[in-house]
Subunit: 138 residues, 6 copies
């Protein structure tokens, strides 16, 4: 079993905000991340799959194809977007890094299994160089 | 003459957008950076000052003090903010990296000269790891 | 189960040295790391916790609060300090990266469990870009 | 159980190419990585071992010695070499990152177990900042 | 005058080798960089232009357009190529970083001046994290 | 004129401290950098030389030789040392980054001019990722 990882990037705006809370309550819980007018990040996304080496190609999978799939299913929906307003798979959810890694897992896991001879192992997302979240599907 | 640099960071939302242009015109000129609902970045700011070494302290200046000044004059206005909506010194300006480095220069240059025995040499701002702008005051 | 990580930094002096060994013996075992007059590093510390997402906040935990706890319990004791001389929780121990990750685990694990709805998963410490140690508590 | 990692680097040429396939077939499968005249990379290699802390030294193992072993057994065969043509342990294999991590594991695992009081845990290899593979021996 | 920089990357094989020298002579001068079978690098290219801010757009120039120009004029000729064998503008030249920055300057300088309201300021090329060259056109 | 840079590293202890000042005075001026028992850093040193390309070799100079010279003249005196106590060329000087870049310049400038067909252009030293100093010899 080999683990292979592809890094992608997206730049997005968001705020941490519950619409059912007052502004004061949002600011108490989320601090400056609750700025009503949004802030944003350069997100770094690491997608790790696991599988055996295809003896014919020497690949677990072709990372160019994985990159295309991540871009068409995830990055185009997030890059240069507002996570709270523009992203179908984040509608109604708090735009936290934790919720993002789970949402990205739910999109990529079935499509990776269906497309390649391997399975999704981990979704890791850096919001800043100091803060990141990982999800392994369980 | 020694050049001393301090790196600071801020996370902000923005869009490249002229209010006097149509949406179509903004998208033609600025592409995905014109997303009406904003996007954002982790900005890295490098402030370089030049001066002679103070023989008493071995410093050109105390970088802790420079850091405090950059934070109070610049970072607090930009961090976790919307550059188009929230930042007094960017009001009425297009929120480009180029305009940001000039605006930051105009704030820092007089206050650095007035506070320390040295002068501002360069303001350098990374919007992403691939794109950055520098201004030397002229 | 989501894994969330916070990066912190500290700058410290140390030497690898057993007081019950001669200088020659220390130099034979530890090489240049045994320089009697100390050397030092910019350490990078990664603290990973695991837990479920709080459906109310979208957080596993508030990383600002984790950062404060790491700073008050660990970083203030190590930053701009001598690991062999100044750090209560390293007294009588060899100032190796391995001993540091275990000592930091022992401090953070109970206080994280007591403070947050999650538990410590990993303490990872970079001494240089080329050398680092990880501890998972067992 | 502590995990300790050493990073090493090598610069090498390679192509992804099966000699039993036509040029057209190689280009169809491997794209630009099949350039007949080779291309190359700055590879970053991370070797992680696991073991208990030696109470006498505070080390799991001396990373200087691990570095020497990685250099003599692996790096000298790969650095400033052509992976397809020059590297004995890659002869007859496709020069993919996946095959490299397995080949490096097979070299390092027995010699680390024989030399140190610890065992190899992971071989991780970055081909670029965006693509890397990991192998844990099973 | 503002300086704006775009970073691009290419992965290439090369060797430092004079065909009019013997193998022994090449190895004496270039060391392991003279490996007959090539080695390679992940090159990082920084292209800096200087100009005034266009008051209409807030840009010195549109970095997406600069990126496209660098890719069509430079990167496509170098990426996943052999610098000694495949690159028209390096034919007959020693494949050193120094010669590369001058060759890239000669390509980009006239086309940037002809395409944008600004001029090329610097070409900077990293061969490794430890070695890089810069050229300012004179 | 081409500018060529070599990066080297050293790990050292220091304190910012004037022996002719009281402890209280040192702490007032230098803050936590005045910890009597030292602290330390992983320093990154960038040495830039300028010269013309030798048409015979394609080099401004052989960076392996520059690296050896920097190591023998500078790094061996600083690496795994105490800058205040162990380093001949820093005796009697405050161990600031500013004083270090000037001292390193004074060592390297004449020996580079005497050894190579080029001259020293800049000495740049990072104390941390946030703080660095540069010296151009005047």
């Amino acid at each position: 079993m080999i683990y292979v990882t592809r890094k992608e990037r997206f730049n997005a705006a968001h705020k941490l905000w519950r619409p059912d809370w007052t502004k004061a309550m949002n600011e108490e819980v989320y601090g400056k991340c609750a700025n009503e007018n949004w802030h944003g990040h350069n997100y770094d996304l690491f997608v790790t799959v696991k599988g055996e080496i295809d003896q014919e190609t020497g690949y677990v999978l072709d990372l160019k194809l994985l990159s295309r799939l991540i871009n068409s299913e995830v990055i185009t929906h997030l890059d240069h977007k507002n996570i709270n307003l523009d992203v179908p798979f984040m509608k109604g959810m708090i735009a936290s890094t934790e919720n993002l890694v789970v949402a990205i897992w739910k999109i990529l896991s079935p499509t990776i299994s269906a497309t390649f001879e391997c399975e999704l192992h981990c979704v890791k997302l850096y919001e800043t160089e100091n803060n990141f979240a990982e999800y392994y599907g369980e």
